[in-house]
Amino acid sequence: MQRVVLALALICAATVGGCSEGVLDPKGPIAAAERQILFNSLGIMLAIVIPTILATLGAAFWFRASNARARYMPDFAYSGRLEMLVWSIPIMTVLLVGGVAWVGSHDLDPPKPIASAVKPVRVQVISLDWKWLFIYPEQGIAAVNQLTIPVGTPVSFELTSSSVMNSFWVPQLGGQIYTMAGMTTRLHLQADHPGTYRGASANYSGEGFADMRFNVDAVPAEKFAQWVDTARSAGPVLDAQAYADLAKPSKAVAPFTYRSAAPGLFNGIVNAGMLPRDPSSIPHHMSQRADK
């Protein structure tokens, strides 16, 4: 029983102050809304769960065999009113939380654009063995294991994978979405405060998975423009050959940028997943993990 209190205290401690990172410290509208839904659902349920735990412990303690004052009711096995109560309490709770879930799923649907006066930045995300490639199609540049975005601007992600399934997750900006070869998933996020936020693959993808992380640098708009200019002025070119090299399995790759990215690369990678297994017909190699 003290254990349960302790457990709750632990969760509360993390909720209130212990956490200066992660899901409970959102830095954008999506993550903030998701945290709010988490709190609302938690609150609704704790209102039922805490009394239930206390009642369980209380009943067990009071009706212990050694307590002579407790009334023994050996035939108390049915009560229509109580039955009514035990069915309706969980049903009402679920109605409430279900409503929260239904509305939240639609409001925060990952493919749904964020309502904003600012024009969104487009980023194409490709999970590779075992690193992340971010292509900025409008800027014509690309970056590996590093995502730079302007603050206060919606970011519109299109995501796919070069090989196995991964999950793109930046806890402080909002929920994750899977990346899958041959398919495109969509996600919209936004950072409201400048800062560096940790991102990672959430779905286990093999040997180099633990290092498959990146930093999201949320910077003011002018700094973002500067960063784009800097990136354009240096670094290698991302063409089909460079991509084929990049797609080879590697672990813990230090972040770097490409000064230009071939247009249509992302679609080429998505379409490669649809083609038959004939190496000569695949413009961009899926993965060379097996050849290792």
Binding site: V23, I37, T52, W87, M165, G175, N203, R277
Partner: protein, 662 residues
């Protein structure tokens, strides 16, 4: 042509001290036990009374022995993972390289679900269900032995993978494309697939056996609404097995076709689609949770009623809730992948459907609460497990409903929060339940109770250790830690993971207490002996026969006139005290004959499975053909039953007066 397929000396990891140590220890242990058994001359006894037995009670006990051994294996994996994550922070890599760590978490999940939780509940159902139904055996006793053999084959194969070759490095769900040949070229995934295919067949046969037994062979007078709740939950659980396991078998068969014959069901190229596997896996995977947890709910119902000295509160509600869970279990699988990009309405639908399961589950919690209300609760070890379960499980259920809210799920899916959640429901929901059942039915199985004080110590260590181990994982999950990390860069996670490791150490102390309890109980069995057959003042039929029950269970088959059949009869006996009971008439009883088919079939299954994993095709043919021939020969045997003469039954009955006093 190579006679050994892909098998070479390089399959044995001589350069890995941890693996060599573990498998060496395991082999030594097996050799030691086998040698001891042989030298002591127990081998014929074991063969005659256990290995070839088709008695449901013996088979149940053997399932439990397998499960307990595998619990030790799966728990060792847990200790290694917690230790690794406690140290591998910042630049540190810990002591396990990724290729080893990845096998450990895959093996931990696979073993704990398939080879610990499943045999625990199937073992307890095997032992108790026919006794509670007031019958002499399962509908298909020999098939039951075959099921046990196939489960044991799967267990053997998965343990061989430790020494010969490797285990899957894909996680216990083995999602393609990662589990496809292209990305997992080794034998690890094949070990995973074949051990689960073979044991899965055994589980399916068990399901068929139980459904038939419960629907068709109950005692006279036992209508559906007079069945003990544990039998109801067993029925629901086995209906789920029959409906869900073929889906897993089919999904894995498709993955096997991809891996062995170049098909493209789930591959990244050739039009394959991995999302199909993910769907099929969880169409089995979510009902699987209820396959495990429903029988445990049944145990809690029996325990709370027995030790409160009251009938279960709201029996009809309990039955309705059980069957509601049984149906709803098939409507929620999509909540395992809200992050896969389904439309908002699909996500929302499955989210709300998942929450609806909380309704019948909540009803059950309240009904146990009202069962205790107005009772005279004896705080025995099974009651401790039950109350520990109730207060823990509601919180695990709470985080489960959180995960059913799609926007919350997007933020904590695949994180350590999720890991904390499912341990928070499965450990109290299944493991505590199995321990309660083990303590509750132990005197019925062996004729003496388990020692109490060590049982209490074990409970408190498990209960406290569980919270210390998993509560911090909720916190780190919310901090953004994903699961299955061999090392991590965020130093602020480390203190929480060290606490979690300490929790595992406390659970380990609980496991030690259980082993000590077992040994102490055997040594003190004379003091702990129960001669009445009814040590707990029970309510259901199994307590009306001798402990341990004879092969024929009941000398005279009981007639059931109401719910809580034995309790009713005891009350009646008190009223009619003094009147001499009518003399019993004994008739010869036919019991099913022992059969080696379970063992022989298991032998060939292991041979075929091992050969398939290593592509040793002549051996595959040998194994498959051998199993086929064995079954055909078995089908042609002339005698299926042996008759036990009436006088032997009478003699036993007079020596064990438990049943006669009624």
């Amino acid at each position: 042509m190579n006679l050994l397929g892909n098998l070479t000396w390089s399959a044995i990891p001589f350069d890995q001290p941890i693996i060599m140590g573990a498998s060496g220890g395991m082999i030594l242990g097996i050799v030691f036990v086998l040698g001891w058994v042989t030298l002591k001359g127990y081998l014929p006894y074991l063969w005659r009374e256990w290995i070839t037995s088709v008695d449901h009670k013996r088979i149940g006990v053997m399932y439990l022995v397998l499960a307990m051994l595998m619990l030790l294996r799966g728990f060792s994996d847990a200790i290694m993972m917690r230790a690794q994550q406690a140290v591998a922070a910042g630049g540190a890599q810990g002591y396990l390289p990724p290729e080893h760590f990845d096998q450990i978490f895959s093996a931990h999940g696979t073993i704990m679900i398939f080879f610990v939780a499943m045999p625990l509940v199937i073992g307890l159902m095997n032992f108790a269900v026919p006794l509670q139904l007031g019958i002499r055996d399962m509908a298909f006793p020999t098939l039951n032995a075959v099921s046990l053999g196939l489960t044991a084959s799967g267990i053997l194969l998965i343990n061989v993978s430790l020494f010969v070759g490797e285990f899957a490095k894909t996680g216990w769900v083995a999602y393609p494309p990662l589990s496809e040949l292209q990305f997992s070229p080794g034998v690890g995934v094949d070990y995973y697939l074949w051990s689960l295919q073979i044991s899965g067949l055994g589980t399916l046969l068990t399901g068929i056996n139980f459904v038939t037994t419960i629907l068709k062979t109950r005692a006279a007078g036992m209508s559906y609404m007079r069945m003990p709740v544990f039998c109801w939950t067993a029925l629901a659980s086995n209906l789920l097995i029959v409906a869900a396991f073929p889906v897993l078998t089919a999904a894995m068969a498709m993955l096997l076709l991809d891996r062995y014959l170049g098909f493209h069901f789930f591959s990244v190229d050739g039009g394959g689609n991995a999302m199909m596997y993910v769907n099929l896996f969880w169409v089995w995977g979510h009902p699987e949770v209820y396959i495990l947890v429903l029988p445990a709910f049944g145990i809690y119902s029996e325990v709370s009623a027995t030790f409160s000295g009251k009938p279960l509160f709201g029996y009809r509600s309990m039955v309705a809730a059980t069957m509601a869970i049984c149906v709803l279990a098939f409507t929620v699988w999509l909540h395992h992948f809200f992050t896969m990009g389904a439309s908002a309405s699909v996500n929302a639908f499955f989210g709300v459907a998942s929450m609806m399961i909380a309704v019948p589950t909540g009803v059950k919690i309240f009904n146990w609460l009202f069962t205790m209300y107005g009772g005279r609760i004896r705080f025995t070890v099974p009651v401790l497990w039950t109350i520990g379960f109730m207060v823990t499980f509601v919180l695990g259920g709470l985080t489960g409903v959180l995960l059913a809210v799609p926007p919350v799920d997007w933020q904590v899916h695949n994180s350590v929060f999720l890991v904390a959640h499912f341990h928070h429901v499965i450990i109290p929901g299944v493991v505590f339940g199995a321990f309660a059942g083990y303590t509750y039915w132990f005197p019925k199985a062996f004729g003496f109770k388990l020692e109490e004080s060590w049982g209490r110590r074990a409970f408190w260590c498990w209960f406290i250790g569980f919270h210390v181990a998993f509560m911090p994982m909720y916190v780190v999950g919310l901090m953004g830690m994903t699961r299955r990390l061999q090392h991590y860069d965020v130093l602020s996670w480390q203190p929480w993971l060290i606490v979690a490791a300490a929790g595992v150490a406390i659970i380990f102390a609980g496991v030690v207490c259980q082993i000590v309890q077992f040994v102490v109980s055997i040594r003190a069995r004379e003091e702990l002996r129960d001669v009445t057959g009814d040590p707990w003042n029970g309510r259901t039929l199994e307590w009306s026969t001798a402990s341990p029950p004879p092969a024929w269970n009941y000398a005279v088959l009981p007639r059931v006139t109401g719910l809580d059949a034995f309790w009713t009869r005891k009350k009646l006996a008190r009223v009619t005290q003094g009147e001499s009971a009518p003399a019993r008439e004994y008739e010869p009883i036919e019991v099913p004959k022992n059969s080696a088919i379970g063992f022989v079939n298991a032998f060939f299954a292991v041979v075929a499975g091992f050969a398939l994993i290593w592509h040793i095709w002549w051996m595959v043919i040998f194994g498959a053909f051998g199993a086929f021939i064995a079954i055909v020969l078995f089908a042609f045997r002339n005698e299926e039953e042996v008759e036990i003469p009436a006088e032997r039954i009478a003699r036993f009955d007079h020596a064990h007066p438990a049943e006669v006093t009624l």
